[in-house]
Amino acid sequence: MAGADRDHAYDVVVLGGGVNGAGLARDCAMRGLSVLLLEKQDLACGASGASSGMIHGGIRYMTSDRRVTESASRDAGYIRRIAPHLTFRIPFLLPFATHEEGSRLLDRVAWYATEVYVGTYDLFQPLKGGKPSVRLSADELYRIEPSLRPGLHGAVTLDEWGIDGQRLCLLNALSAAHHGADVRTWTEAESLVREGGRVVAVRFRDAVTGEHGEARAGVVVNATGGWSPRFGRSNGFQVPMRPGKGVHLSLDRRHGNYGIICTAVDGRQMFLMPHEMESIIGTTDDDFFGDPDDLDATADEVEYLVDGAASLVPSIRQARITRAWWGVRTTLFEYGVEEDDLSRDHRILDHAAEGSAGLLSFVGGKLASYRAQSEELADRVVAMLGKGVLPCRTHEVPLPGGDEVPSPAELAARHGIPEPVAARLVFRHGSRAREVLRVADDDPRMKLVLCRDEGILAAEVAWIARHEKVRRLQDLRRRCRLALGGCGGLDCARPAAQIVARELGWDADRLRAELADLLEVGWRERRPVLDGWQLAEEELLRAVHRGLGGL
């Protein structure tokens, strides 16, 4: 077949560049296996990139098995250890609300139970560097969070970690590549090749170049998440799951420093929480059996989320919503259960009985446990291959840039850049921020702050284009949040595209096509929430990019 010279044999071929695929690729590569990772779009384009971005310690498992909570908390601590720069603390408030005036005995018992429950979770907090919970009276609660609606009876607090899920995913893939893995983004696995009831190779197609290739594999791991059922159907195996669509909304800035747990109109728990530079409202959870490539947030999903958040924070209706974003969860299949009660547990399916020996599928799981899940998967792969001598070390070897967190003030002073920009740089790149700034030292023009929403330096764009597996311009949405804010790339998209084009050798036509693609993705996310000033911004954005740019 065409491109036969590109054929290689790998110990393991991983399908899907979500956090599980990237985590598995890293683990296998670090154990000395040869690995190919295929992702049909960019890393973290699916559920990993659209998750709430939290590394929680599994508080909800304390009722079923406290050992699960313990191991989840310990793993959260490991993620903090390997990527300290990428995590940030989110204190949560769980307000005590009643629908009538005053409180009944039953309410007070329930609140005490909540207090005890969260207080018990405190036993595990040291494993992940969390702070102890406290109980707040109503007066204290209103002093700490004055935007809450009147009539609440106090709260308990809960400490968790947030993370940039997209960069977490990327760093795992970069680490895998550093340990010898081939990581191919924008490369779709088209079909599996079988010989005598065994899957022996994967045929793939590069979406950017159009090239085809085939890779032989000892083991193939299907970690395509929401795409699994479809991929399975067209390749002769079954992946039972109940995909669930989850939508989040982003506000243009942090509403405050504390997350607030709210109850949605249907009684589900949801949240309004600060996350990096913005606040997010999440999330919906509805069965989804459509095409995961063809998703949009609907008007009623937006309204559901705003309503839920406004039930505790009424002023949220005046806030500026910049975008809605969504993904498909891959919860385990159960019949006759509400979406929310579905297990967030995971399972590894072996398809040997379906005539596909050597093929595993990964279903379910959660971002916070990706490392442990990857370790479990890698153990299975190693067992199937009968090789891989090194032990798992993904919990102690830092991810790229995770070995040290430089002081932003010091970097800012040394390199002559604004301190907030240095802080964003350190957040995204950890110790590798120094390498990024070397680009600016070599060419002082690269100190230009391209984006004043995210604090993106020209040097950072160039460095990312060189070192972070960028193949399309829209990859920068996930690398450094380019054109993701309320401004939608109004004044930064074009200069950033020019820098990437220069680094990657794109001609002008390619540059314009990439720019149009980047803007189109942003439009899809802003469309359901165009209101207030965001609508004015859209008018301006359209005048520039569509009117002036002809894009």
């Binding site: 008007a299 690269m446 391209l450 109004l490």
Partner: protein
């Protein structure tokens, strides 16, 4: 309220962008006493230097420049094909479109070059050729349909945000339509030791300084080759036209010099805003800064800042979303008088559809390139520019609407924004002053 704070006038214009300024100047031209209230520069202050009136909707991408319809004929073709567009509504008066454009550009002649009746083709920072019925004087020499020979597309070494290669490639694409042969050149200017200097306003101020434009001209001259017919530079050639930056560069370089169009932040936008302010003052239009707070319309006092304005006629030229004339806070509404927002583009032009309250996703199309009904939202008006209510009745015989507050067109997808502003502003200003069209 003491009587000294009350102003009585013939025409109150709300909005100080292109539509409002044209309306005020047209009314003033008709002898009316005019007060203009504006809160800030609207989208005109953010414009890139082009006065886009109409481009031929029927022509193919490969139709040569010379074979394309003129501006007024293009507007007629838009009127024939776009049901909700203001040109359609005013189709019986399109013969006056050119009078309006000549009037408005003539009023702004300090900044704007006189229009010729056909479109100029100007390069944008995205490497796109953009049609403009008129443009800033500093841009006229860059008309792709006029330059014969080689067009030198210049960037500055220190100006990171601007890539002459990308822009030149845009010119390459239109060479077959009658455009020049482009050549990209980076001029060794504005390199700074201490870091980046990519901000257009900073560059514009630097070039205004004595000697700076001359130095740029000398650097340009050294880069020139045989056959170079004109040079285009980033739109940073001075904020104040009186500093004559393009002329000074051209004199040193010995070649015609022009700015290309600007995206944001926009030096030409600020230049244009200032020119409008100066022209309004010179014409004797009283300009009040602020918002109309309590105003019910003609013959009733409207509070503006600490003043009270009593006007016989009103012209609403308050813009759309950026200007603030139309806003959406859960529902679409007109912000000054609370008039119903009824007009849009496409299927929602049907008045039986309750347009204003629909969720944004249902008022937009997934393909961002399509005309978007939500972004075309505005007032529905009759052919005399009176705003209409849901039943199609005139709300008040002496309230007129002009510019982007009039709905039915998504200017960024058809390039008619300034044309609609000038045409409706001119008509509304004359009607409000009692002159009719």
């Amino acid at each position: 309220m003491p009587p000294s704070t009350r102003i009585e006038c013939d025409v109150l214009v709300v909005g100080g962008g292109m539509a409002g300024a044209t309306a005020a100047l047209a009314a003033r031209d008709g002898g009316a006493r005019v007060v203009l209230v504006r809160k800030a520069p609207g989208s005109t202050g953010l414009s890139g230097g082009a006065v886009s009136v109409a481009q031929d909707p029927g022509c193919m991408p490969d139709t040569p420049f010379a074979a394309r319809a003129g501006v007024v004929e293009s507007a007629r073709r838009i009127a024939a094909t776009r049901p909700g567009h203001p040109y359609r509504l005013l189709r019986d008066r399109l013969d006056r479109l050119w009078n309006a454009v000549e009037f408005a550009t003539g009023q702004m002649s300090e900044v704007l070059a006189p229009p010729s009746g056909r479109n100029r083709w100007l390069l944008t920072p995205f490497g796109h050729a953009h049609a403009a019925a008129a443009c800033h004087r500093s841009m006229a020499a860059g008309d792709l349909a006029e330059v014969r020979g080689t067009l030198v597309v210049c960037g500055f070494e220190g100006h990171l945000g601007w890539d002459p290669g990308l822009i030149a490639s845009g010119a390459v694409r239109v060479r077959a339509l009658g455009g020049p042969t482009p050549r990209a050149v980076l001029l060794d200017l504005f390199r700074w030791e201490e870091g980046a200097l990519g901000r257009p306003f900073d560059l514009a101020r630097l070039l205004e300084a004595p000697g700076a434009a001359e130095e740029a001209g000398r650097v340009l001259r050294r880069a020139l080759q045989r056959g170079d017919a004109a040079a285009v530079l980033p739109a940073v050639l001075g904020i104040d036209p009186a500093t004559r930056v393009p002329e000074r560069i051209a004199a040193e370089a010995g070649i015609p010099v022009a700015e290309i169009l600007s995206d944001l932040p926009s030096v030409p936008g600020l230049r244009f805003h200032r020119a409008i302010e100066a022209r309004l003052a010179a014409a004797g239009v009283e300009v009040l800064q602020g918002e109309v707070r309590s105003g019910a319309g003609p013959d009733l006092p409207a509070a503006v800042g600490g003043r009270e304005v009593l006007a016989r006629s009103w012209v609403l030229a308050s813009g759309r979303f950026v200007g603030g004339g139309i806003e959406r806070r859960g529902e679409l509404r007109e912000s000054v008088l609370g008039l119903p927002v009824l007009a849009s583009e496409g299927p929602f032009a049907d008045p039986s559809v309750r347009f204003a309250a629909r969720p944004p996703a249902s008022l937009t199309l997934r393909d961002s390139r399509a005309p978007q009904p939500l972004l075309a939202a505005g007032l529905r008006v009759d052919d005399e520019l009176h705003p209409l209510d849901a039943e199609g009745r005139v709300l008040h015989p002496r309230i007129f609407a002009a510019g982007a507050v009039v709905g039915g067109h998504d200017p960024s997808s058809d390039g008619t924004g300034m044309g609609v502003a000038m045409f409706t502003g001119w008509l509304a200003g004359r009607s409000a002053a009692g002159r009719g069209a």
